[in-house]
Symmetry: C2
Subunit: 302 residues, 2 copies
């Protein structure tokens, strides 16, 4: 089995390592070349200087796995690949693309006879050691061709990966996974803020998080990571209270609106991230001004 | 080591089993006597026909662990115990009491020279096999006396239990734990509802939940239980969409208000349970009526 991997960042690079170590031959290309040479040296990956060179090293049908930022970079790469591929070749998008884009791209590639698989991938930087959780959308014959690769990337051949449905279903499932993650993270954040806020008890949050890891109802991988961080530093003074968001939280909330199915906690977890990102605080300034206007309440000067 | 256990329900009964199997002698009393005889027969628990008889079987200092419903039953039992106990004896409240009550009771018992420990206990019906996660509030010398008991109830002698702070801190920590649980559960519920709502993909929710258990960011014990349930039945037609709440979710939200610390997702998870409990739907009827009044929008007849 030999495939090409385009995009060797944090995710793609580690996936190449796992594939090489699991006996899958990988031809790798990345825009900045340092990581290409490193993976060639360290893992025996076949280095390519360009996508075209990578394709030239593949047997037919050619299998090209993309691990690129979603949006334009993925779109442009697929666009550039089409004239270089033939009927029966397969493109896999393992990035965090919007599932509507994946559905559109699947149909577009099908017109050229090219197969498409959307592989939602969870596991972050821990995936190299633990394996990746893979949610795959594709036509059955495409998914079947990729099985050997999925079994190596997954935590084990028989678990942590699944062909969940047609093209788009993989990225859809990953999107909802991330939406749930937003809600879980926010619940933990609020709980720990209340523990921290109870000065009277002077709780050791590292102790509490470690304690909860064992036999409690809230035990989870997110708690494991939290306990590890709090053990090192529970004051978090060096961490700015700014929480970024990427596309998938937003898309989950849009999906809730499209379906007309309530997802208030996931929506609010997203909104709380927006609030954390708001340096300007215009809405809060306005509220303070209104309280002053109708009630003469003092305004705290900035 | 010998202690009395008062209240042998789902939690107390299984805790007695774990204690007896772990080498702690237990004198057990329960209002309805069947379980007393059963535990005596099956686990070698020392049966008592009354609390007084249970106390008579204890060495000094006497240690009395209560596993009773919070509120009046716990309050009345402590009230009844005081004249029968002596200075140096200890009462443990292992139920889900409000931490303010525990603080008050700790001070009240201290006036009588009686020690008090609040032991927030997580683990549910799985605690017998896996051990209980125990969050303990007490004065250091009281906690030290109970260590041998905690080490048997916990998943292991060195983990899953901790003396987190003074009297009240145990139930406080357990309360926040349950608040986080509300948020996590609601996030999963919303995510699975969105997966279910996507008819187009016809997802197998048992497959997805099982898949996520391996290397995904949302893996957790709650997901393990969810996957097990969905594997048996993913339509859930036999389950009424009514979600009960017990005290601790409410108390966590009150704590947020008392501290002035935002906990919007935990609060909303609680409110969503209230909404699920609302058979009458008066607020929604009113909204439908208002839409009709100002916009002539049709009202769906009940």
């Amino acid at each position: 089995m030999r495939i090409a991997m385009i995009g060797l960042g944090k995710m793609g690079g580690n996936m190449v390592r796992r594939l090489c170590r699991g006996g899958v031959e990988v031809v790798g290309y990345n825009r900045s070349p340092e990581i290409v040479q490193q993976l060639a040296k360290e893992e025996g990956m076949i280095a390519a200087d360009s996508v075209t060179e990578a394709l030239g090293q593949l047997p037919s049908p050619r299998i090209v796995w993309l691990m690129l930022p979603c949006g334009d970079p993925t779109e442009q790469q697929i666009d550039a690949l089409i004239p270089q591929l033939s009927a029966g070749d397969i493109i896999i998008d393992g990035g965090n693309s919007n599932y509507h884009d994946s559905q559109r791209r699947g149909a577009w590639l099908k017109e050229h006879g090219i197969g498409f698989m959307d592989a939602g991938t969870s596991g972050g930087v821990w995936g190299l050691a633990n394996g990746y959780c893979l949610m795959v959308g594709a036509e059955p014959e495409v998914a079947a061709q990729l099985e050997p690769v999925l079994k190596v990337l997954a935590p084990a051949a028989d678990r942590g990966w699944a062909h969940v449905g047609p093209v788009g279903a993989g990225h859809f499932t990953k999107m909802i996974h991330n939406g749930i993650e937003y809600g879980m993270m926010q619940a933990f954040a609020e709980g720990f803020a209340l523990l921290k806020g109870k000065d009277e008890f002077n709780l050791d949050l590292a102790q509490v998080s470690e304690l909860w890891r064992h036999s409690s109802v809230v035990r989870s991988w997110l708690l494991d990571l939290t306990a590890e961080s709090l053990a090192e530093d529970q004051e978090l003074k060096a961490v700015s209270p700014f929480v970024a968001d990427s596309g998938e939280g937003r898309w989950t909330v849009v999906e809730s609106i499209d379906q007309g199915v309530a997802a208030p906690v996931i929506s609010l977890a997203l909104q709380m991230r927006f609030a954390s990102q708001d340096d300007e605080g215009y809405g809060n300034r306005l509220l303070a001004m209104m309280r002053n206007a109708f009630g003469g309440h003092a305004v705290k000067k900035s």
